[in-house]
Structure formats: structure tokens, C-alpha cells
């Protein structure tokens, strides 16, 4: 047995979603990261410039007034700090105890920015080296300016949200579009599935390739080839059974004719009974062969849709009953027909339905003792039905399931028969989508068979659709 394949691997939709959305999601994470870095960097630049501008302003003022005055005169907004030191890093003045400038910052010719922590807050710090003319002529000083970064973070977050929200929306819409596209794309496959699901088990007609999307078409084509092969095998089998039955008839005919001839000649006493036995045996054998042939004809056939034609069940039943009239009279049975009086049209195989009626009547006439009655009825109500009732011994409830089995015979009935009659009835009924009910006749006496057909056009067969 092949190992069961997980549903996810079998589902094209899952496969597509997995292969499409995993990379897209990873890509989204990546662009978010890039966006985040870019947002911080870009949003930081104007703030950095402003911070540097302030440091320069301070430097120029300081050059005019000296450090203490300059710092005192400097308005001090919350979250903005300065310090002044010489190029060795020695602090000359400060409005807050900012971290010491690093030696490489002190040495740098251009302003240096860095992130740092101060009083538990994250800050941005610029170190700016400048030359003084008045305060320390010819000398150089270093000014540090720092500010809290809350504003920058707010800006970068809002930039980030401008990047991320549309991307999330993009994924959401893309996902929806792909889902809808898949659903639409798979609709023909789903339609094909429904068509196959609705098929009768014996329907071996090819599937319509046009129904499938082009990707699935090769599969359908191969399936059709497979169906055609099965159909061929089935037809071959049916032909074999039919031919075998045909071929058996001729020797039986010969046997019977020889026995009949022998009976005509003057024969020693006692031989006539033997010859009659041979005759009867030949007749029963050929009846069995006929029944086998009928059964083979009514096994699920791949061509039912082609064979089935609208027919009148009422007329067919009446004709059958009429043909059985002489036989019923010979056996002293009152055979009657109670029909609807109107035609009952339904699609079917006329020969097969005639076999069905013949076998029901044969059965009833054989098992009903002389002096009894057999009635063939037809009716209409939620589909046509056909019934055969008799006042014979009936069929015990325990046997009712099994009487339809092939070669099953009710014990102790003492009647010769092929044991195939009711099997034929069941096969023909099945082929026509009809159900067979078996019960007792009126008043709980005898047997009653009823074959109920589906309403016209409801059995997926050519109807008036």
C-alpha cells in the first residue's frame, strides 16, 4: 500500500498559498526592516542638522560673551543640554552633566553625532569643535549639544507606519485576489467533480474534456482512455456471455427435437417416460440458458443512455399479460390486468422491461395453485409503478431478501425454475433506477411485487429536460 499522502501536499490551493505567501511574507519582513532603518535615518537627519545649528549658535555666542554667560543666557528648553570643554576634554562649563566627549570625537575636524544614554533617556549627542577668536584667541574648544530623541522616534514611527500599513494592505488584497482567482480557476474542476459524483456506477461514457481547464485536460484525456479500456473489457465480457448462451441453444434444440422424435416412434414400455424426462430436461436447460442470456443482457451496460428510449409502460404491461393469458388459463389461474387506462411514458429498454414483467408474471403464475388469481397492476404517483399480486402461498418474511439472489430457490416450493427470474427483475429495475418492493398481497395473503420507477426525467436518463 502506498504511504498516505498528506492532504496539504495533495491540495493545489494549499501548495499555491504556501509557495506564494511564505516568500511574500518574508519579503514583507525584509522591506519592513529596511524601511525601519531608512525611517530612522531619514527622520534623524533634519533633527541632527537642527541640533548642530544650535551647537554652532552656542559656539558663536560663547565666543562673544564667554562660557558661563553664554550658557546662562541660553534659554533652556526641556530635554536640551549643552557642555563646553577644551580639546583635551576638560569641562569648562555645562548645564548638565553630559557624558564626557570621546577622544576620537574631540579629535574629529567635523561634527560627530552619536546616540547615548543620559538620565535614563535616550539622547542624540553632537560634538562640535570650533576655533575661538575672542574667548581664547587662536585656541579651539569643543561644544556638545544633546537632545532627547522622543520626537525623532515619533517621526520615524509615523514614517514606518506609512510604509508598513500599505504593505499589509497590499498583502491582504493580494491574498484575497489570489484566493478568489483560485476559487474561480478551480470552478471547472469542481463542476467536473460534481458531474462525476452524479454519475451512475455503470455509466462508462467519456468525460467531457472541454469542461476541464487546459492544465487538467491531459488528466481527463488519460482518464477517458482508461474508461474506454474498462468499457471494452466489460463489453467483451458481455459479448462472451451472450455468445455462450446463444451457442448453447442450438445443441439444446437438437436434443429436444431428437427426444421428441424418439417419443413418436413405437418404443418399449417405460421408455416414453424417460424420453419425456429428456425433453423436459432439454427445455429446462434451454430456459436456464435463456435466463442467463437475459441476465447478461441486463447487467449494467455502458451504453444504457444510448439504448433507453421513451416507452409506454401501460402498453408493455398489457401486452405481456395478454401473452401470458393462455398459459395462465392452462394452469387454471385467473390472470387479470388493472391499469391506469392512460399511457405511462418513461425512458427505458423495452426488451429488458418486457423481461422484467415476464419474469414477475412467470413467477406468480408458477407459484400460485390452480384456482388462484394473479393480477398485474400499473399506477402513477410520484413516478410510474408496476405490480404483480397473487393469492398463492406468498414468500415468508425471512426469505424476502434472498429471493432476489441468483440461483436462490424458496425451499419446499417444489417448482422447477432457473432461480434467476427475480435476479433478472432486480437487475432490470436497477438499470432503470427503479426500486423493487416485496410484500404480501391484499389482506396479507399471497405475494405482491411492486416496481417503482423514478418520476420521468428524474433519473438522469433521457427525459423531457
Amino acid at each position: 500500500m502506498p504511504a498516505p499522502i498528506e492532504d496539504d501536499i495533495l491540495s493545489l490551493k494549499h501548495q499555491l498559498v504556501n509557495w506564494l505567501f511564505t516568500p511574500i511574507f518574508l519579503l514583507l519582513l525584509f522591506t519592513m526592516a529596511v524601511g525601519y532603518v531608512a525611517a530612522i535615518k531619514l527622520s534623524g537627519q533634519p533633527y541632527d542638522l537642527a541640533l548642530l545649528e544650535r551647537a554652532r549658535l552656542l559656539a558663536s555666542q560663547l565666543d562673544r560673551t564667554g562660557p558661563d554667560v553664554a550658557l546662562l543666557a541660553w534659554p533652556e528648553p526641556e530635554g536640551l543640554w549643552f557642555s563646553l570643554s577644551d580639546t583635551q576634554g576638560k569641562r569648562l562649563a555645562a548645564n548638565a552633566d553630559l557624558p564626557q566627549p570621546r577622544p576620537d570625537d574631540l579629535a574629529a575636524a567635523t561634527p560627530r553625532f552619536r546616540d547615548a544614554f543620559f538620565l535614563g533617556r535616550k539622547i542624540r549627542l553632537v560634538t562640535y569643535r570650533f576655533s575661538t577668536s575672542r574667548y581664547q584667541p587662536g585656541g579651539e574648544l569643543v561644544v556638545q549639544a544633546a537632545e532627547a530623541v522622543e520626537d525623532r522616534v515619533k517621526l520615524s514611527r509615523s514614517i514606518l507606519s506609512y510604509i508598513v500599513v500599505p504593505q499589509f494592505l497590499f498583502i491582504l488584497i493580494a491574498g484575497l485576489a489570489v484566493w478568489l482567482g483560485l476559487k474561480r480557476g478551480f470552478e471547472p474542476v469542481e463542476r467536473l467533480r460534481r458531474t462525476v459524483a452524479r454519475r451512475r456506477g455503470d455509466d462508462l461514457s467519456p468525460l467531457d474534456e472541454e469542461m476541464a481547464p487546459s492544465e487538467v485536460r491531459p488528466l481527463i484525456r488519460e482518464m477517458n482512455r482508461h474508461i474506454a479500456r474498462s468499457r471494452g473489457l466489460m463489453e467483451q465480457h458481455q459479448r462472451f456471455v451472450a455468445n455462450a448462451a446463444h451457442q448453447l441453444r442450438t445443441p439444446f434444440a437438437g436434443l429436444k427435437a431428437q427426444a421428441e422424435l424418439a417419443r413418436r416412434a413405437p418404443v418399449p414400455a417405460g421408455t416414453d417416460a424417460l424420453l419425456e424426462g429428456i425433453c423436459e430436461g432439454a427445455v429446462r436447460c434451454s430456459h436456464l440458458v435463456n435466463q442467463l442470456l437475459t441476465l447478461a443482457r441486463n447487467e449494467p451496460a455502458p451504453r444504457d443512455r444510448e439504448i433507453f428510449k421513451p416507452l409506454d409502460l401501460e402498453r408493455l404491461a398489457q401486452e405481456a399479460a395478454r401473452d401470458w393469458g393462455p398459459e395462465a388459463l392452462r394452469r387454471g389461474i385467473d390472470l387479470g390486468f388493472e391499469g391506469t387506462g392512460t399511457s405511462l411514458t418513461l425512458p427505458g429498454d423495452e426488451q429488458a422491461l418486457r423481461d422484467l414483467i415476464d419474469n414477475l408474471l412467470d413467477n406468480a403464475i408458477h407459484y400460485t395453485p390452480a384456482g388462484g388469481w394473479v393480477t398485474l397492476r400499473t399506477g402513477n404517483g410520484d413516478g410510474a409503478w408496476l405490480g404483480v399480486e397473487d393469492n398463492g402461498p406468498g414468500i415468508p418474511e425471512s426469505e424476502r431478501e434472498r429471493v432476489f439472489d441468483r440461483f436462490y430457490r424458496v425451499a419446499g416450493s417444489g417448482q422447477p425454475g432457473s432461480g434467476l427470474g427475480l435476479a433478472i427483475v432486480l437487475e432490470v429495475a436497477r438499470r432503470h433506477g427503479a426500486g423493487v418492493e416485496l410484500g404480501t398481497g391484499p389482506g396479507g395473503i399471497g405475494a405482491s411485487f411492486r416496481v417503482h420507477f423514478l418520476p420521468y426525467g428524474a433519473n438522469g436518463l433521457p427525459g423531457k429536460e
Binding site: T250, A253, G254, A257, Q258, E260, L261, G325, P326, F337
Partner: protein
């Protein structure tokens, strides 16, 4: 009377030859289709009993070529095929009768007799059932050699039943048999004619049985 039996199964062919000989006909045998066609075209046969499943040439092909050569001799087809369409095909090609294997020799003999009689011309003019006989040419029915006093409609009903004696005839078929008269015939009227016929036929041992919902059947008592 010469009869050609075309049958490739030895046992059946042997029975047929014996039965035909016993009935007083000269019977020849052809074991395959080609030989059969040659014998039928060359020889002078009054009737052929033709199997369908033959070597060399199929029975239906033999029949077709025979009819194409404008040979009108009666042909009875014997076959193991019993599908309705097979039967129709055989009859369409010009077969006169059709028997499905296995059949009873008595039935075959009766059909041979009927076909040969028809071939002779005057056949079928007089139909009998027990002591009842009907002369369809003279439109006269007699019971135990005494002419029955019947109305024209009663005669028509009797004729229809007699032609299909032993078989069930529906009321509709009886009404159709009376349609030559330009008036409506009701099912009740048929019952009246049947009732009258029964009374007149009873002494001769001929009965008309009623089958519920199906029709009537004429038979010897």
C-alpha cells in the same frame, strides 16, 4: 413438396430431416450458407428452413440474396437470437416466419404446413376450432356442420377471435375489427356480442374465456 433445411448443427439437422421426412416431405440438407444459396437458386424447393448462424455465409445474407434473385419461396428462420430487433430484421428481409431455439417440433411442423398451404393459394380460407369452422371467403360459420345464425357484427367478432384462437384478443382489437361500420362501437357493445356468441357456441364445445382487463380468448372447452 421439397424442403431445404439449412442448419450446421448435426444433431438438430438430423432431427429436422427426420421430422420433415416423417411428415411426408422430401428434405435436403445444406450445412453452410454458400451451399444453401446455390441449392436454393438452382433447385426447385417449396420451402426453406434457415438457420441464421451459418459458416461461409450468414443466414440473413442468404435470405437477402435469395429475395434479390426474386425467389418467393416461403422461408422459416430458426435462430438462437431472440432479440426483438433480430426478429424484425429477419422479417424485413423477407422471412415468412421465425422460430427461436429451442422450439417444439410440433410447432415447426404446424408452421411449415401453414406456409405450404398458403403457397398453394386457397390456404387459410377455412379456419377451425373444435367443431366450429369459419369460411372467410363465404363469410359463413358453422358448428357441427350446421350453419350458425349470426349477425354481420357477430361474424366479425367471431372471425377476429378465431383467427387468433388460443391468444388473448383485447376489446380494442375487437372494436377495430368492427370499424368498417362507420359508427362508434362501445366496449359495452362488444360485451353484448360476446355474450350472444357464447350462447350460440356453447353446444359445440367452443368457449370464449374472459381475462380481467385483458380481453377474450377463444378455445376448445
Amino acid at each position: 413438396m421439397r424442403i431445404l433445411i439449412v442448419e450446421d448443427d448435426g444433431l438438430l439437422a438430423d432431427s429436422l430431416i427426420r421430422a420433415m421426412a416423417a411428415a411426408g416431405y422430401a428434405a435436403d440438407l445444406a450445412g453452410d450458407g454458400e451451399l444453401a444459396l446455390k441449392m436454393l437458386l438452382d433447385g426447385c424447393y417449396d420451402l426453406a428452413i434457415l438457420d441464421l448462424n451459418l459458416p461461409r455465409l450468414d443466414g440473413l445474407a442468404v435470405l437477402k440474396q435469395l429475395r434479390a434473385a426474386r425467389r418467393a419461396l416461403p422461408v422459416i428462420i430458426l435462430t438462437a437470437r431472440d432479440m426483438v430487433e433480430d426478429r424484425v430484421k429477419g422479417l424485413d428481409l423477407g422471412a415468412d416466419d421465425y422460430l427461436t431455439k429451442p422450439f417444439s417440433l410440433a410447432e415447426l411442423e404446424a408452421r411449415v404446413r401453414a406456409l405450404l398451404r398458403r403457397g398453394q393459394g386457397g390456404g387459410g380460407a377455412c379456419i377451425e376450432c373444435g367443431d366450429l369452422s369459419f369460411d372467410s371467403a363465404g363469410r359463413r360459420a358453422s358448428l357441427c356442420d350446421e350453419t350458425l345464425d349470426l349477425s354481420a357484427r357477430e361474424l366479425a367478432v367471431l372471425e377476429t377471435l378465431l383467427f387468433r384462437q388460443g391468444k388473448v384478443v383485447s376489446k380494442e382489437q375487437l372494436i377495430d375489427s368492427l370499424c368498417a361500420w362507420d359508427e362508434e362501437v362501445s366496449p359495452n357493445a362488444i360485451e353484448v356480442y360476446i355474450h350472444r356468441l357464447r350462447k350460440k357456441l356453447e353446444p359445440g364445445g367452443v368457449v370464449i374465456r374472459t381475462l380481467r382487463g385483458l380481453g377474450y380468448l377463444m378455445d376448445k372447452a
